[in-house]
């Protein structure tokens, strides 16, 4: 009976039926065959599976990201990135990466980023004479940053499944995101050196200085509030005054991108100090994005708001449909002791966390090629979690490993989904796209190894703020 549940699900999923239907369908078949409970339990558990306040974070993180993803803000972010790093050799390659880092700080999905931003990034690079291969490669690689740098939809889902603090996961993503950024920029620098590329814009002290100043303001903002609070100013007053000063400065000096880049800073700041729960943080980020779009930059039209809402609903519904189905399927997996069997099997095989993590890396890279990340998390994490805890691996660290694997899986040849998207965007054959992406697996797999085997990269920040 137990075997029916799991194999039924796998067979259904491989036919191409929506993953959620494969889960709920396998559960229905199980109830009809075993007769242990009436099949209507399936719909009841599906509905109550999304009857949860923490899950409200999902639509609002998606909404905030979508609200920021319009032409007005996109131009600001790229102009900022260009001013900051465009003067380096291989300039637009660096701009592509920095642009992705900033967008990653506002949204939490990778495939959409690859299709939407990828089109723009590849076009700008092509206009400046970069080869299609290089443009596609750097775009694909930097798209993996989206869910590592907070906020991140996969982390919200992982936190929910693994029962881990979402705030800690978000903090844990910061340093790995920077490590990845660094390794990718080194790769661009290597290409630029090898091919003797020049810069894309002239180095002007005024331009670089202004961009650096904007970056310093973003970093200094929370520090100033923290300092004020630690000398005894009451927190709402300090935050309020700082906000007014920020907007006054933005109005006076017409900053390019200070306010959009501030999004993750406010979010993380609010969550680590306990002002926001993740759900409230997501709502605050949406309000921030709405305020910028509707009133401050006025780039958001009423029609656009409808379209953005519709896209948000679509992503929310497709993810939460799986969450709903996973709540009955996951419960059945535990109830029929499938998870126990898997745990016993793995522990019979190895007791070394290192070996286990290596196997997990291989498994998830493979799974990540076929399966959308949130779906993969909902299937794999409940099964793997007991082993993780038994082996004494930190679940926050494990979350980073899971998400990064699934992201790399997205573009890993021959099957990764971003591969197919970018092949269409760049109008390039699958073979050429594959060859374009292969070199970028070096920095990505390099980061994966560092992040897997040096836990402190992920755990240092959460340990610092949550103890």
């Amino acid at each position: 009976m137990t075997g029916w549940l799991l194999s039924g699900f796998l067979v259904l999923m491989v036919t191409g039926i929506p993953v959620a239907i494969a889960m709920a369908g396998a559960s229905l078949i199980y109830f009809y065959l075993s007769g242990t409970s009436p099949p209507m339990v399936v719909v009841h558990r599906m509905i109550s599976g999304i009857d949860s306040f923490p899950l409200l974070a999902v639509p609002f993180f998606i909404l905030a990201g979508n609200l920021m993803n319009n032409a007005g803000i996109t131009n600001r972010i790229y102009n900022f990135a260009l001013a900051l790093v465009g003067w380096m050799k291989g300039g637009l390659g660096h701009v592509n990466i920095i642009g992705s880092v900033i967008f990653a700080g506002m949204s939490g999905t990778a495939i959409a980023d690859a299709a939407g931003l990828g089109t723009i990034e590849i076009k700008a690079m092509r206009d400046h004479g970069y080869s299609k291969e290089f443009s596609v490669g750097v775009t694909a690689a930097s798209a993996t940053l989206g869910p590592i740098i907070p906020p991140s939809l996969p982390f919200v889902i992982y936190g929910m499944v693994a029962n881990v603090s979402i705030g800690q996961l978000f903090l844990a993503g910061v340093l790995p995101g920077l490590v990845m950024t660094l390794l990718m920029m080194l790769t661009v620098a290597y290409y630029a050196h090898k091919n003797n590329w020049g810069a894309d814009i002239k180095f002007l002290w005024s331009r670089v200085g202004k961009a650096t100043l904007e970056l310093i303001i973003v970093i200094a903002f929370p520090l100033v509030i923290w300092l004020a609070v630690s000398v005894g100013v009451n927190p709402p007053l300090a935050t309020g005054v700082a906000m007014v000063a920020l907007f006054a400065a933005d109005w006076k000096f017409k900053f390019e991108a200070v306010l959009p880049i501030m999004t993750p800073v406010l979010l993380i700041g609010g969550m680590t100090t306990g002002i926001f729960t993740p759900t409230e943080g997501a709502v605050a980020a949406s309000i921030w994005a709405l305020f910028l779009g509707l009133f401050w930059y006025r780039t958001l039209t009423y029609k656009m708001l409808i379209k953005v809402s519709m896209e948000t609903i679509e992503t929310t519904a497709t993810v939460l449909f799986i969450v709903a189905a996973a709540s009955i399927f996951g419960w059945l997996l535990t109830a029929t002791r499938v998870t126990d069997l898997v745990t016993a099997w793995v522990l019979g095989f190895t007791h070394s966390p290192w070996v286990f993590l290596l196997l997990v890396n291989l498994l998830l890279l493979f799974v990540g090629c076929f399966l959308e990340p949130t779906a993969a998390i909902l299937i794999a994490v409940p099964v793997l979690m007991p082993v993780v805890l038994q082996l004494g691996i930190d679940p926050v660290h494990f979350g980073l490993i899971v998400v990064l694997n699934l992201m790399i899986g997205l573009l890993h040849p021959p099957m990764g989904m971003v591969l197919f998207v970018l092949a269409r965007v760049a109008r390039m054959s699958l073979e050429r796209t594959t060859m374009a992406i292969v070199p970028w697996l070096v920095p990505l797999l390099g980061s994966l190894i560092l992040i897997t085997y040096i836990p402190i990269i992920s755990l240092w920040l959460p340990k610092l703020f949550y103890r």
Binding site: F53, N79, A115
Partner: protein, 194 residues
């Protein structure tokens, strides 16, 4: 089709010579949104309002209204279950299609037809089970708000029913066209880029 987009893409430059980006938003067309889209949009905006109201009462008035949390959870359920139908219509539910690249086209066609049938069967069954559950629940009340839970379950049943209808339409469309998006995923990506 490919030719016109090539010229459109070649005509505009994203990055000008002075180093400024000029990205433009694609024109917005709302005409392809149908009944279930607008219904879930209504639920979603109500959800946004109730959560915003809670945010406001908690941070500005220091006294969060408890009913907003409950209503927000229910509105999320309504948004999601109605929007499931819209994603069926657009074939946007997350699925796995690698098998179709490995098997011969005829087998793919047969398997994809089977998927269409199973999808209709699942949603039809889900409607029946939800109605059955509503009868079992009788007049169970919500926790704080004095309303029957069957309002929420009824909306879920409506969402499943709409999804069943859309599944039938998708099946007919696939049948007429002679292929589904499972067999030719590039068809969907093409539409997404345009």
């Amino acid at each position: 089709m490919t030719d016109t987009t090539e010229t459109k893409h070649a005509a505009e430059h994203v990055l000008d010579a002075e180093g400024h980006f000029h990205v433009e938003d694609a024109p917005i067309d709302l005409s392809h949104y149908l009944f279930e889209d607008w219904t879930s949009l209504a639920f979603f905006w109500l959800l946004g309002l109730s959560v915003f109201y809670q945010f406001f009462t908690r941070y500005v008035m220091n006294d969060s209204a408890a009913w907003t949390e409950e209503i927000a959870r229910y509105l999320l359920i309504c948004t999601v279950f109605v929007a499931i139908a819209a994603s069926v219509r657009r074939t946007r539910h997350i699925h796995v299609d690698f098998l179709y690249r490995l098997i011969p086209p005829k087998a793919g066609r047969a398997l994809s037809t089977l998927v269409d049938i199973m999808r209709i069967a699942f949603f039809a069954l889900a409607v029946g089970l939800t109605l059955e559950m509503m009868m079992k629940m009788g007049n169970l009340q919500m926790t704080i708000i004095d309303l029957p839970m069957n309002i929420i379950y009824g909306i879920c049943a409506f969402g499943f029913a709409a999804a069943a209808v859309r599944s039938v339409q998708v099946a007919i469309e696939n049948w007429r066209r002679g292929f589904s998006l499972l067999e030719r995923p590039e068809h969907a990506i093409e539409e997404h880029i345009e």
